[in-house]
Symmetry: C2
Subunit: 333 residues, 2 copies
Amino acid sequence: MKQDISGQLLAVLALLLVVGFASAAEPDPLPSWREGVAKSSIVAFVDRVTQEGSGDYVAPAQRIATFDNDGNLWAEQPMYFQLFFAIDRVKALAPQYPEWASQEPFASLLKGDVKAALAGGMPAINELIMTTHAGMTTDEFAVLVRDWIASARHPETGRLFTDMVYQPMLELLVYLRANDFKTFIVSGGGIEFMRPWTEAVYGIPPEQVAGSSVVTEFELRDGKPVLVRMPEIRFIDDKEGKPVGINSHIGRRPIFASGNSDGDLQMLQYTAAGQGPRFMLYLHHTDAEREWAYDRESHVGRLDKGLDEARERGWTVIDMQRDWKTVFPERRD
Amino acid sequence: MKQDISGQLLAVLALLLVVGFASAAEPDPLPSWREGVAKSSIVAFVDRVTQEGSGDYVAPAQRIATFDNDGNLWAEQPMYFQLFFAIDRVKALAPQYPEWASQEPFASLLKGDVKAALAGGMPAINELIMTTHAGMTTDEFAVLVRDWIASARHPETGRLFTDMVYQPMLELLVYLRANDFKTFIVSGGGIEFMRPWTEAVYGIPPEQVAGSSVVTEFELRDGKPVLVRMPEIRFIDDKEGKPVGINSHIGRRPIFASGNSDGDLQMLQYTAAGQGPRFMLYLHHTDAEREWAYDRESHVGRLDKGLDEARERGWTVIDMQRDWKTVFPERRD
């Protein structure tokens, strides 16, 4: 009897050791994700496509993953963060433009009434963007963005905007890259508004960022070549534009696409239509406590048709409140 | 005395061993390049920017190298190879378009008179390209290119077009990548004409290819998303367009740029204008025997202003006849 018990104890000890080693060897790659369908679906997909010899194996070169940015990698409430940048630019430029005191959308903005300023809808937003995002060289614009992003803070949380990124998504990016995925941003936001900081914040280099753009023109200024940002939209990388942008920029169809709004639906449809294993991921903003809760009725980041299609087609939907242990990373300041 | 001689012999042996090991450890990375200024300048530049701690050190992420394609990575005589593709498409499509028998530029092409067909200049070439490069999905176009490139041959050499690439440039691409450069194509050629084969031929993946493009539109066909190529130019990635294309596609300024014609001049100027070490490289077609000799007067790949500017500014110019031991790789068929 004694010997039997010893044997059993040894077996249990051995088992504990094995489990211990196994968990030591493979720490959870997604520690901010709660156990659940979203997390397990992601891990199962990555395991499937990286297992050599399996029928679902995908060669590393084909492991293209695309991520929307606003509301998907960082927050987008109460309005797109790029608009805060535009507003701060208006304030900085105002002394040079006294006429703005009586000219919309600038007049309202300068009085601090953003809502009234944006009441003019797309034409007002367009004027705001063109005034603040064009008329300088690409190098000058990059400096403006770098300076702003280093210090500007979210009006409600007081965090740096680069601290309003989602910790679970940062982990997902790292996890995918560790499995030889190439991660891209495909965003409706301005491509040159994102590039100065995406490498430091997301580990995504400028050449893997696609976004909306203005026309740029080559000029020799005092014999020195510069690219000048013109007040004319070149490309809107949203909705139908996302697959177009992916094709133009990447030239391969993603096997993994992640978004949070109807603006991402065509990207997910385009991804889903490829041959072989595919993963389509929607982030559903359900957490009024830790972030914001919004979907079908929101003016920013509306998720309506996309939510229906995701449910019909069995795409993975992250329920932020349920699936994420943590939303934002530790504050760095 | 005896001992002294032994000592000297030993020293000589040791020296020979060291030299032997050194050359065994570092085989020539550019074996098809003759010793000379072009080769030694390239190697010196790569050594400078990769030496950690040196003032000229460039971090790997910033080691962006851009290459023109036509006449730079593969040949371009007697005309751009993409035109051979267009002509072969006209022949394949002709049965569906009986009216082409009397309609230029198609009529001349179908009679085999390319010169007469192209006498119409850019409008004729534009019509030829639009007819043969638009009106299908991006996936369908990629299949057409893949099928053609696998079998089409150069009319003068009888080689596959993918065997009309320059062996020394293949070695240069490999050498740069071995030194953590990221290599890009920035070509006036069609982006979707190149992407199906650049990875296999040059080791350059689709997402690192920038080129000229047509407008593409997202469509759901029977519920399946496709991108349709429209008969409308979106972007010409040549001359002033090259820095624009680089900024749009890569979002960083290259530190190494390689071209062969005036169409590459702005790319080289833009590269030269960056801060820190830079390398600008022109390929001068001087070898009528093994390839073609042409420069200031050529209609294809004219190198005139660029040659002057290269000499004034001390850019490196490859003299094909003098600097390359081999031009083309071994035939694969």
